[in-house]
């Protein structure tokens, strides 16, 4: 039996469509399994710390010396294999410091004394309740967990950087080049990243799973307070309810989970 070109093409088309359809049905199934796995995250043992809404309070009165800042940022760099390229263009930052004026845009006040102007604010991912980065991500590589943490899946990220455009806090970094040669001392217990993916602070999900508080909180000696905002007895909740705290860009409605406690900050006459 011989067939002409038209018949051949038609039959080939049907076979291809069947094949593609079948593979979609299969990968669709696998997709749901992967989704479930990512939600379970690092939850491995009963020791793990859990919460309904993890949040952080930055006690501004505790950041007085260079060392107070360095201890915090370096603890993060060391355990998360964050590279140092030595140039701001490719820089990867999870937690760092900035001044009042730039951290709280629109907060410039020309009469502010130098001591206030130069207060070091620790900035990091705000783990927003309504994260615009999660909304933007076309693959679900960045997602919000049930405990409020905005996490990253480095293996699903395609590196489109839509999340970086969406984040109003500049909290996200992209691996513009291979980070591995620029890591001072590799921590074998935490993955290093490939070029072409986005990363950011994850509130140390890997440590919470082992029952440990985030590395920066541990290193801060009380400067960073971490806890469940949903628990009325937690320290963060008590501070946020009774003391004067501010958050970044609240007018955008993203509901940041990082609060800055400023009522203990000295420097004025009545300090």
């Amino acid at each position: 039996m011989s067939i002409n070109r038209r018949q051949f093409l038609r039959r080939a088309g049907v076979v291809t469509a069947l094949g593609l359809g079948g593979s979609f049905a299969f990968t669709g199934l696998r997709g749901t399994v992967a989704e479930a796995a990512s939600d379970a995250g690092y939850k491995t043992s009963d020791k793990s710390l859990t919460a309904k809404h993890w949040a952080m309070v930055v006690d501004m009165s505790k950041f007085k010396s260079e060392d107070d800042i360095k201890r915090v940022t370096e603890s993060c760099v060391n355990i998360h294999n964050i590279p140092d390229f030595g140039n701001p263009k490719d820089e990867i930052m999870w937690i760092w410091q900035d001044d009042y004026e730039h951290t709280f845009s629109g907060g410039d006040n020309e009469y502010l004394t130098e001591s206030f102007k130069e207060l070091p604010f620790m900035v990091l991912c705000n783990h927003c309740e309504n994260p615009p980065c999660v909304k933007a991500c076309p693959t679900g590589a960045t997602f919000k967990r049930s405990d409020g943490i905005v996490d990253m899946d480095y293996h699903r990220c395609i590196g489109c950087r839509f999340c970086m455009g969406a984040c109003p806090f500049g909290a996200r970094s992209f691996n513009y080049r291979d980070p591995r040669p620029f890591i001072k001392k590799t921590n074998p217990n935490f993955p290093t990243r490939t070029p072409g993916v986005v990363e950011k602070c994850t509130f140390c999900v890997e440590r919470l799973a082992k029952g440990e508080i985030p590395a920066c909180v541990e290193a801060s000696k009380g400067g960073l307070i971490f806890g469940d905002l949903d628990d009325p007895n937690s320290e963060v909740r008590k501070i946020v309810s009774t003391k004067f705290t501010i958050r970044r860009k609240t007018d955008l409605g993203t509901q940041p989970s990082v609060y800055y406690l400023i009522d203990r900050v000295g420097g004025g006459e009545h300090a």
Partner: protein, 387 residues
């Protein structure tokens, strides 16, 4: 029909080889970027999108502009556009292919790009953008190819094609609207977060796209025996009217933006406009571009408003002015100024690298190669019929 692209004059082949050479250079540059990473571009932590995404945005507009021929011809029975419609559709095909390539060269992990299909996120505008772009590509290939094949045989295109023709009209609007939503839906990017963004996108697209098309048709007229606008028809002049009104609307929308920013005096709204028109914190790399665009926009409009639009020399100048005004506005400034000043109110500038520019030129060359082949087929069919 594709075999018609395999025969041509010496000039035709010289042009093809020229394009292939640029593609080769661009491909080598892409291989470099593929191995090293996007660090080879000028993009940074602060300006995380650059020329690639800007070209993508601009070309979505060029693609959508085919509707400015399709709507009058099919919906309003405006017969003058009869010989030009196919060229609009083929321009759309090449433009969408370039759009897809610009996205591809921009992602950090291109091998994973199908994750967008494997794990579709219904809350991400990018997912919808992918859907509408692929759909638009398919519609234009189907409509363009079947109508041309029918014309070659001297028959009417099959009836089912009409369905796709009508579908292409709202679809063209959707591709540029969804692309505008990529930007206008982001909180905290003041330059983009404006309700008029989609309308501005469409207006600039309907000015820039048809300008390019008319310029291409003027070239077609020069290099082939086929005249897309024979004497007495006046199709080009009709399209020029559309370009003129679209460009006036575009400039009007832009002035609305400038008024809102400066009369309200809200710093977040003003800063990006200050950055592009006068410079901010001592940084002014986009200022010459923006003033060139402003000058070209008004020059183009003036030349098209007055009878100068009928002048053989001034018409191409007007069209080039309008095309480049829009290209600077959307293909350079719009994306960069969305990131400047950054989230911390600091000005960190972006300068494309030579490797990046080689890749951009390579993608454009692929688009023009495709366009050349498609136009060659269409022209050959028409020349054959004329004999």
């Amino acid at each position: 029909m594709l075999e018609k692209a395999l025969t041509g004059s010496k000039k035709y082949w010289a042009w093809i080889i020229f394009l292939l050479a640029i593609i080769a250079v661009g491909f080598m540059a892409y291989l470099k970027q593929f191995t090293y990473g996007l660090g080879l571009t000028g993009m940074s932590r602060d300006v995380s999108w650059g020329l690639y995404i800007a070209q993508f945005t601009f070309l979505v507009g060029v693609a959508a502009s085919a509707v400015m021929l399709v709507t009058p011809y099919y919906l309003h029975d405006f017969k003058k556009f009869g010989k030009m419609v196919i060229f609009g559709e083929f321009l759309a095909v090449s433009a969408v292919i370039m759009c897809i390539l610009f996205i591809f060269v921009d992602v950090g992990q291109p091998m994973r790009i199908l994750n967008v299909l494997l794990y579709p996120q219904l809350h991400s505008v990018m997912f919808y953008d992918m859907c509408v772009l692929c759909g638009y590509l398919a519609i234009n290939i189907i409509v363009g190819w079947t109508s041309l094949a029918a014309e070659r045989k001297g028959t009417h295109p099959p009836k089912w094609v009409k369905f796709f023709v009508y579908l292409s009209v709202p679809w063209a609007f959707s591709i540029h609207t969804v692309t505008a939503f990529l930007y206008s839906g982001l909180p905290g990017r003041h330059f983009w977060a404006t309700a008029i963004m989609a309308a501005r996108f469409l207006a600039s697209a309907f000015a820039a796209g048809p300008s390019l098309l008319v310029l291409l048709l003027l070239i077609v007229r020069k290099v082939s025996k086929f005249d897309p606008d024979p004497p007495g028809v006046g199709a080009i002049q009709s399209l020029v009217k559309i370009i003129r009104y679209a460009m006036i609307a575009n400039v009007f929308f832009y002035i609305c933006e400038v008024f809102t920013a400066f009369y309200s005096s809200m710093p977040g709204e003003m800063h990006p406009f200050e950055y592009v028109f006068v410079g901010l914190h001592g940084h002014a790399s986009l200022v010459p571009f923006m003033w060139t665009a402003t000058f070209l926009a008004f020059l183009g409009i003036l030349l098209l408003v007055f009878p100068t639009r009928k002048n053989k020399v001034l018409l191409p100048i007007a069209l080039l002015s309008i095309f480049f005004a829009n290209w600077i506005d959307k293909g350079i400034v719009l994306i960069i100024a969305g990131f400047v000043p950054n989230s911390f109110d600091r000005v960190i500038e972006y300068f494309p690298t030579s490797n990046e520019i080689s890749i951009v030129l390579g993608v454009y060359a692929i688009g023009f190669l495709l366009l050349t082949v498609l136009y060659k087929v269409a022209i050959s069919v028409r020349e054959e019929k004329a004999q």
